[in-house]
């Protein structure tokens, strides 16, 4: 699969001020019956965003919106950065959660920590999860609550998040960074080592032959 590149992003921010946001909340299970990767954006945070019960196939443009929910509020429309709290994306491994965030138009997440599987899923789809210290995250939430608006610049190559004169650096390992910057296909990257994989199998077959005699049960 060709992955979208991530180089820089200048965007307003939408806040989601709660910790332990799980992937069931990000995309409820009834929407996972799709066999496609697209079309999940309208059901992102479905139980929180709408006042009625969501089912696949609805026309979401006529559903009643929960205007207390930040993603529905006019001042945050068009934001491509989600500001979140600790342990975002916990729970199920469903990549549909990332497809929903991207389908909604988000390109980066800024929080303190992300769940392991969710973070891998983000990186495999070109959605950048940025981890900053909790005091920085607190400060950003405070600013957005006070001003109802926050605009940030993200530079992946420099590994910085900038707001006016303030700039914070974030960590990302070299393999993941390169993949995002160049939109690299990680399967293609692994397949460059096909010979090493075949060599591994040949050697391993001698040590654990029973693993290679799969029954056709």
């Amino acid at each position: 699969m060709i992955m979208q590149k991530f180089i820089t992003l200048k965007s307003s921010v939408v806040p989601l001020d709660r910790r332990d946001v799980d992937t069931d909340a990000i995309i409820p299970k009834q929407f996972m019956k799709s066999i496609r990767r697209t079309g999940f954006g309208q059901n992102l945070f479905d139980n929180w965003r709408y006042l009625d019960e969501g089912e696949p196939g609805q026309d979401c443009s006529i559903r009643p919106l929960n205007m207390k929910f930040s993603l529905n509020q006019p001042q945050f429309q068009g934001a491509q950065i989600l500001l979140c709290r600790e342990n975002f994306g916990c729970g199920s491994s469903r990549e549909h959660a990332v497809w929903a965030l991207e389908g909604f138009g988000l390109k980066a997440l800024i929080g303190t920590t992300f769940a392991d599987i969710f973070e891998s899923n983000c990186l495999n789809n070109g959605l950048l999860p940025i981890k900053l210290g909790s005091e920085v995250i607190d400060k950003l939430f405070k600013k957005i609550h006070e001003q109802q608006h926050l605009h940030l610049n993200i530079d992946l190559n420099a590994q910085t998040v900038t707001h006016h004169d303030n700039s914070w650096t974030f960590k990302i390992d070299s393999n993941r960074k390169e993949r995002l910057l160049h939109g690299l296909d990680s399967i293609g990257a692994t397949l460059k080592y096909s010979n090493a994989i075949k060599h591994y199998e040949k050697k391993d077959r001698e040590v654990t032959p029973w693993l290679y005699n799969q029954a056709s049960a």
Binding site: R37, G91, E95, N121, A189, I197, T208
Partner: protein, 468 residues
């Protein structure tokens, strides 16, 4: 040679290529495939003109979406039917072993792979499902992956993986009567919080763990992910090896002795260095009930929901929001919680031993009149048949339970088995997130013992075997 942890041994054995200091290409021995997280992977694989590297390493079964009753008339839900049918077609096109909905061996992948002997010590196992950590009970490195990784694994038989830190959770002592490995799991999640083990591979060790059956070990490893750990594992011992005898995929006689010798090496060496250790005294573990909307929000069945004052100020909003969703009050006694539904099932607690435990509690009794529905959903066709051989189905049916076919069912409510808004359920599953078992539904995670006793009483009661 330096002492190694079990995790380190599994990593080293499957190491194909180092990408950098932390990431490597790791070979995966077993790929388990379900209908919900795989269709996009197959489609993308085919669009890229790639093929499945080693189809014989994979096993597929439809578990998330399948109905648990009325199967002979097919799947009514057209979207679910399309997913189940896509799995069958994809497996057929790529030569992958598939247990379809009508196969007697069909079931939850984390139940059927172990019972078929397809989960073995020393293996790496991946599946597009976060509860793949279950298989770590066999001394294997097993973890959940997303759909892009499912495609990666299909195409290369490998994954690009980051090395995890190691956490040794040593549990020592004797469990009290009425306490099960589900309670151990909830205890650990309660201590660590839902993110306490993020970035770690957990190893469960100690004499309490050694004394557990394989079924109970699977329950414990299953819930590692609820503490944030992608991986939970237990070293190999005689219990592991005895379980693997005479199963469909177990090594044939000519390889058995070599396999056992190989398997026995998958234990942490004495004095192996862990990044962190946590000691749990088994006597301090209670039967637990979750009262909130994350699995770490739990307390003993004889206890009370915390008061607001007992919660640290920064966490009070979250605490109150969870209780509001759950329709509960701070400080109330757990035994005052009245239930609407009971669900006994899921990859956490739908094995034969779980059903035996639950049946022993409900035998000769009736579910309470306020219980609208009590479901028993066996983890696999094999578990169902075994239970019927033992007469457990009669015990449940006579008590007023519905006896269903195998699948994930009300654990995540993708099929018709789900909670309606504000319905309250005692569930042996693994997640109590908002809406997990149905929009607006309220889930309390418990052991099969507690769920069975709650079905009879209509509210939470200490299990009969518990000394108080």
């Amino acid at each position: 040679m330096a002492a190694k942890t079990l995790y380190q041994k599994l990593w080293d054995k499957h190491h194909v290529h180092a990408i950098n200091d932390t990431d490597s290409i790791i070979y995966i021995d077993r790929h388990l495939i379900n209908e919900v997280t795989s269709p996009q992977a197959f489609e993308s694989l085919e669009n890229s003109g790639r093929t499945v590297w080693r189809p014989a390493a994979a096993i597929a079964s439809a578990d998330h979406n399948v109905p648990t009753s009325g199967r002979t008339s097919g799947i009514v839900d057209a979207l679910a039917a399309a997913q189940v049918s896509a799995l069958a077609t994809n497996c057929e096109n790529h030569g992958i072993l598939h247990y379809g909905m009508h196969d007697p061996r069909q079931g939850i992948l984390h139940v059927i792979s172990p019972e078929l002997g397809a989960t073995q010590p020393g293996m790496t196992i991946a599946c597009g499902d976060s509860h793949t950590s279950t298989h770590g009970a066999f001394g294997s490195l097993a973890f959940g992956i997303g759909t892009s990784e499912v495609e990666h694994l299909l195409a290369t038989q490998c994954l690009q993986m980051r090395r995890l830190k190691s956490l040794n959770i040593r549990i020592e002592g004797k469990l009290n009567p009425g306490v099960t490995s589900k309670d151990l799991a909830l205890h650990v999640v309660g201590v660590l919080s839902t993110s306490g083990a993020t970035g770690y591979a957990i190893e469960f060790s100690g004499n309490t763990v050694s004394s557990l059956t394989m079924e109970a070990r699977m329950t414990l490893c299953n819930m590692s992910i609820e503490a944030g750990a992608r991986v939970g594992m237990i070293g190999v011992d005689e219990t592991t090896i005895a379980y693997l005898k005479n199963r469909t995929f177990s090594p044939p006689d000519e390889h058995w002795d070599a396999a056992v010798a190989h398997w026995k090496t998958f234990v942490s060496d004495p004095n192996a260095p862990f990044d962190h250790e946590l000691l749990v005294a088994a006597e301090t573990v209670n039967p637990y009930v979750t009262w909130g909307t994350t699995p770490d929000m739990c307390c003993p069945i004889t206890g009370h929901i915390p008061t607001k004052e007992a919660i640290e100020p920064p966490c009070q909003d979250r605490f109150l929001r969870a209780l509001e969703y759950m329709g509960l009050k701070p400080g109330m006694a757990v035994t005052d919680i009245v239930l609407d539904k009971v669900f006994i099932g899921s990859c956490t607690n739908a094995r034969i031993e779980d059903l035996r435990l639950a049946a022993s509690i409900v035998k000769g009794k009736r579910i309470a009149s306020n219980i609208l529905q009590a479901l028993v959903v066996p983890g696999s066709g094999s578990v169902k048949r075994q239970a019927e051989l033992e007469g457990l189905d009669r015990i449940f049916i006579e008590a007023g339970f519905e006896w269903r076919d195998a699948g994930c069912s009300m654990c995540l409510g993708m099929n018709d088995d789900r909670l309606l808004p504000s319905e309250r359920c005692a569930s042996t599953s693994n997640r109590n997130f908002e809406g997990r078992q149905g929009a607006g539904g309220r889930s309390h995670l418990v052991s099969p013992v507690v769920a069975a006793a709650a079905a009879i009483a209509g509210r939470f009661v200490p299990p009969p075997s518990m000394e108080i």
